[in-house]
């Protein structure tokens, strides 16, 4: 199956030959959707959940992995964590073939499933950490040090002795993130880490992840629906749809590809007909307030100057583009071409 013997586990450096911590080379995952027609199981429909994806992630990167539901995001994460076996291609995480050496890989990665806590419901939070301590065979000193750090930065001090069932969603998420980091993983996978969290918790979680990445150099790969997560955390974004990698690059580039627009919200003194200033077009009028769309790459300053000169301006604000819309526009472009 795997013909590339020169790159199989043992002989590769932990980081691969070029510093890549995660390396995917034409990775595929094909599911057979079985349809039973008697005893002969020949009637099968093949679904390509992941269709020949290649990318590398270097140590210390923080990457956002986004796409609509069913695009192949979680299938990819499951292959990277060794839960699923790829149907084809080549895959290495820290030099390890995840599907073959699942338990060895487990020592070196941390995983947080946003909607499924791995904490012990009826026990005080700290008990879950003690289990991690022993299950991952973390040396006592490291454990104490890591726990102290997480407790301090994630503000878990008052929660350690509280049964998990009594924690709020945000507290539980912070608890889960700490649990995934006690064994010093080199890679942290986060699946929807801010889903359902209140604003304060979101901010705290994001700050923590930024610090973790900056200070410890932990590589972070996160999937999310909340695009502000990515805006605030990731310099690099990968967009997947229909099992294919549609975009891989900086967030700003995504705007260009998707021809995204920013919005200028203008409050005038009174209701007026739609503003007419060349490069921006009015998309909405509501009483004295008007919404103008203009290309994201273009500066807002000249536009504002022109409006201020010609209209009785009271207030204005600029809204960043809605990336979800950008992505959907991008999909539309790809599918029609």
């Amino acid at each position: 199956m795997d013909t590339d013997t020169s790159d199989s586990g043992i002989t590769t450096g932990t980081d691969g030959r070029d510093g890549a911590l995660i390396r995917l080379d034409r990775v595929e995952k094909v599911f057979d959707v079985r349809r039973k027609t008697g005893f002969l199981r020949r009637e099968r429909r093949r679904v390509r959940a992941v269709d020949s994806i290649s990318f590398t992630v270097s140590r210390g990167e923080m990457v956002g992995y986004i796409g609509p539901n069913g695009a192949g995001k979680s299938t990819t994460i499951k292959m990277l964590t060794g839960i699923l076996t790829p149907s084809g291609g080549h895959l290495r995480v820290a030099g390890i073939d995840p599907s073959r050496e699942r338990t060895r890989l487990a020592q070196r990665i941390g995983v947080v499933f946003g909607q499924r806590t791995t904490l012990w419901w009826d026990l005080p939070l700290v008990d879950s950490y003690r289990l991690m301590h022993r299950m991952y065979r973390i040396p006592d000193a490291r454990y104490a040090e890591n726990l102290d750090r997480c407790v301090e930065l994630l503000e878990l001090g008052d929660l350690l002795d509280v049964p998990v069932r009594q924690l709020s969603l945000g507290q539980r998420m912070r608890g889960d993130i700490a649990a995934a980091l006690l064994h010093d993983p080199e890679v942290l996978y986060l699946d929807e880490p801010t889903i359902g969290l209140d604003v304060v918790s979101k901010v705290r979680v994001r700050e923590f992840l930024r610090d973790l990445n900056a200070e410890r150099g932990t590589t972070v790969l996160l999937t999310t629906h909340d695009l502000s997560d990515i805006e605030q955390l990731c310099r690099r974004v990968m967009v997947i749809d229909h099992g294919r990698l549609m975009y891989d690059g900086p967030l700003t580039g995504l705007h260009e590809v998707g021809e995204s627009e920013r919005t200028l919200v203008v409050d005038l003194e009174r209701e007026l007909p739609p503003i007419d200033v060349g490069s921006a077009r009015v998309v909405k009028v509501e009483g004295p307030r008007q919404w103008l769309a203009f290309p994201a790459a273009q500066s807002a300053a000249p536009l504002v100057a022109r409006i201020a000169a010609a209209y009785p301006l009271v207030d204005l604000s600029v809204r960043e583009p809605d990336i979800e819309a950008v992505i959907s526009r991008m999909y539309a472009g790809k599918t029609t071409s």
């Binding site: 839960i83 076996t85 338990t103 499924r116 009826d122 026990l123 150099g217």
Partner: protein
Amino acid sequence: MADRQQQRQRQRQGAPSPGFERVGRSRLMDGLRAYRLIAWMWVRSTMAYRASFAMTLLGNFAGTALDFVAILLMFSRVDELGGYGLGEVAFLYGLSSAAFGLTDLALGSMDRLGGRVRDGTLDTLLVRPAPVLAQVAADRFALRRLGRITQGLLVLGYALTVVDIAWTPVKVLLMPVMLVSGAAIFGAVFVAGGAFQFVAQDASQVQNSFTYGGTTLLQYPPTVFAKELVRGVTFVLPLAFVNWLPALYVLGLPYPLDLPQWVAFLPPLVAAGCCALSGLAWRAGLRSYRSTGS
């Protein structure tokens, strides 16, 4: 950090590759260790509801005792069942119940696997550095299941006081061997049932009919059942080796099928074979889960 990894890497390359047996044994030790850790967490979790624990322990005891009460009620109306007296039936009952109780204590939540596959929580076990089977086996470990073992052993104790057995050293030795082998045979059924749930997530009941059904069957004398059924549980699904065959040797009673006497000593071998087969089934099940993710 990178230094440390390179060092580790060098160590890996330099060390001679460990023999298969050593890897196998360390996986077993890893599994047992993970099992112990997780089981202990569950014990502590249930202790969060102490009163409820006491009640469920009592309930487990009473629930299993109910089967025996039914047998007692039967014997309040008759003196023999299938040619067996109450003491002899109690002997079969105690052995079956105690062996099954041991398995139920160790692997009692295997039937939750299908649910874990369905709701996706199995994935959280797959990212841990421990064998999945050990983690699934320890899931919801419950000391209340000691109730069944206790009840089985009490009935067995009662049987030993009322039944006249011509004890020999071999028979004495056979008793604990029977219990452990029986528990292992039931364990193989549990694990195979778990493996089946990878394929059919809602079919945990099928497993129950072999496990709970099996122990119920073995509580009664083999003479009660049709020959085909007895053949089935002797040669196909070898539950008869849990207690019937060895117990009848101890009791000095004939087995309804024509079998040589030495089959009474086969339980350890049968258990080993069953465990090997169910281990293979488990691996196949897990592999199919990891390739289909469903």
